[in-house]
Amino acid sequence: MRPRLAVYKFASCDGCQLQVIDVLGRARPHLGELAELLDIEHFLEARSRIGAGPYDVGLVEGSVSTPHDIERIKEIRQQCRFLVTIGACATAGGIQALRNWGQIDDFLSAVYATPAYIDTLATSDPVAAHVKVDFELRGCPIDPGQLASVISAFCVGRKPRLPGYSVCVECKERGTVCVAVAKGIPCLGPVTQAGCGGICPAHDRECFGCYGPDRQEPNLVSLTGFYERHGANRDSLGRLVQSFNAWAPEFRTEHDRLSGDAP
């Protein structure tokens, strides 16, 4: 029997779901029609028909940001045998986790005419803060090739193999000259998980950490210290680590250290 797939959205921009559609709907060299290997049972962005759970694989986009989200993600966890979070929002809270540094009531009164109607959490949380996650697919957005390889690994019965190294490896693989060393541009590549293929440095700009902190002891203090000694401004370094994966623990800690908020 073909694995039954469900795709869910939480607080997010839908970009990762578009990547899922891209993968499911397009024949890729070497991959064939992914959609033919799976039964898509629940994917509101792509189709209105909903097949009843439980499902074999669940893909979750977006961060948990309301009390209702918490209930919903718990229900989804029960429905999905293999739960995969996709993208920076689901794995680290996303860009919206910038609110975690502020006061939620201030935002509510600044944005909404009647804040009393708004029922929200004070923080934007990664899914794993609320339920057990079987696999995390990082990126903003996720890489279609990685998604396809995770799904094909699931179908074939092997462990998904994702890069366990920094973005620098991908830059060197494609022959990109290091923007940090050759141009003095502060770049998060050395402390960021690979996966994007090293896109930004290949276009002459810094890595800003879409794939989150490298899985193995990312040494942010050493890196930002070097950039600072070579003329980078401390505030701009703080902003560099405070983007799509701002709430990822290593980036968060470094931001707070640089801004003097560290405990």
């Binding site: 060393v181 050759a182 003095g184």
Partner: protein, 388 residues
């Protein structure tokens, strides 16, 4: 063969002859702020007038009208990028009614000619030859590429502050292993062939531009070019406002490192090290690799991709349920001791050629010569290493 003079405009003839003989020609060019190797059809693309300033974690190019064509030194690329590419498919398998069949296409690499190879990188080539072709089991794809390689070497007349080839016995003169070597003098190049293929190329050039033999005095003075540089490097005199040139004391270095595996310096360098793998990727001798499976969704069509691996990643040392080197300190120690000590047991040579790339392209400027010097300065008192 007697060296001959090739005028500067003769470089184009060199490129043309190599192309006419069926080589893909690759040479140094300025791109993205560095001198890198790229396909080269036009000699005007060579980095004439460009100099590189290199230091720990820093590489900057600047134009200097006095600089020659090859007065830059090594950039981030090396022959490794061509002979041992970062990623390649090594096998293909298909599931058929008769079981698994290997469907790997016959491998026919191109004839490659690379211009601008320095002494350090020639030494690196010889080291990788030992690694990939020197044992009972060999990398047949490397060997196929190697047999089709044509090397145009260059004798250095300038060094970056990160260069320490003189310490490793690998330069600045281009050692053996080239087909043709160039030494830049004024507006022309002394050019000599060391192989039959090299002589054939020179013969073809002779038909297009006149090559005047060097007089014995000129030969002597050309030979002196890298020698003069060696003396300068050994003197370690810094130009004003420039970093002090590197050197590395290799005296009993195998013993020094293996007797200091618990030295506190490893933990100290781990505070700076990012474990990002850049040093291993730019190193022209680092040879680790891993193989990954790529399948179609049915799993019936399989290819196996060999990809550069690095001892700075956890994957490198992963075993069932445990990791042999879980800390940055242990991984940095693995890299440095392998490069400078273990390599000697394994291949009868150091794994370091003194090219300095690992210093320049380390995002935080960790300096292999400095790390060794720190250990040498306060060696631990562990038992001496036996000679075998």
């Amino acid at each position: 063969m007697q060296p001959v003079w090739l005028p500067r405009h003769g470089l184009q003839h060199l490129i043309n002859v190599l192309r006419d003989r069926g080589h893909r020609v690759v040479g140094p060019q300025v791109a993205d702020g560095a001198v890198v190797y790229r396909d080269l059809a036009d000699a005007s693309l060579l980095p004439t007038g460009w100099l590189d300033h290199q230091d720990g974690g820093v590489y900057r190019l600047h134009h200097d009208p006095r600089a020659g064509t090859f007065d830059h030194v090594v950039g981030p690329h090396s022959l490794k990028n061509y002979l041992f590419p970062a990623r390649e498919t090594i096998e293909a398998w298909s599931r058929t009614p008769d079981g698994w069949q290997q469907t790997t296409p016959t491998y026919e690499p191109e004839q490659l000619a690379v211009i601008g190879i320095r002494g350090c990188d020639l030494a690196a080539l010889a080291i990788q030859d030992r690694v990939f072709m020197g044992g009972e089991s060999i990398d047949v794809r490397y060997k196929a590429r190697r047999e089709k390689l044509f090397v145009v070497a260059v004798n250095c007349r300038r060094a970056a502050a990160t260069c320490f080839c003189h310490s490793m016995g690998c330069g600045p003169a281009a050692g053996p292993g080239f087909d043709i070597a160039l030494t830049e003098v004024g507006d022309r190049f002394a050019i000599e062939a060391a192989t039959e293929a090299g002589e054939a190329v020179l013969a073809d050039i002779t038909g297009r531009v006149s090559l005047v033999p060097l007089t014995p005095d000129e030969v002597a003075s050309v030979r002196h070019v890298p020698e003069t540089l060696r003396e300068t490097m050994q003197a370690r005199v810094a130009e004003e406002g420039k970093p002090r040139p590197r050197s590395l004391d290799t005296e009993k270095i195998r013993e020094l490192l293996f007797e200091n595996l618990t030295h506190p310096r490893w933990a100290e360098v781990a505070d700076r090290c990012l474990s990002c793998a850049n040093c291993t990727l730019v190193c022209p001798t680092c040879f680790c690799s891993s193989v990954g499976e790529v399948t179609d969704l049915t799993g019936d069509e399989v290819s196996r991709e060999r990809q550069w691996a690095s001892c700075f990643t956890l994957e490198h040392s992963q075993m069932h349920g445990a990791n042999a080197r879980p800390s940055t300190a242990s991984r940095y120690r693995q890299w440095l001791t392998h490069k400078l000590a273990g390599w000697i047991d394994q291949f009868g040579t150091s794994g370091c050629t003194g090219c300095g790339r690992c210093i320049t392209w380390c995002p935080v400027g960790i300096d292999i010569t400095e790390e060794v010097a720190a250990i040498r300065e306060s060696p631990a008192s562990s038992p001496p290493l036996s000679p075998s």
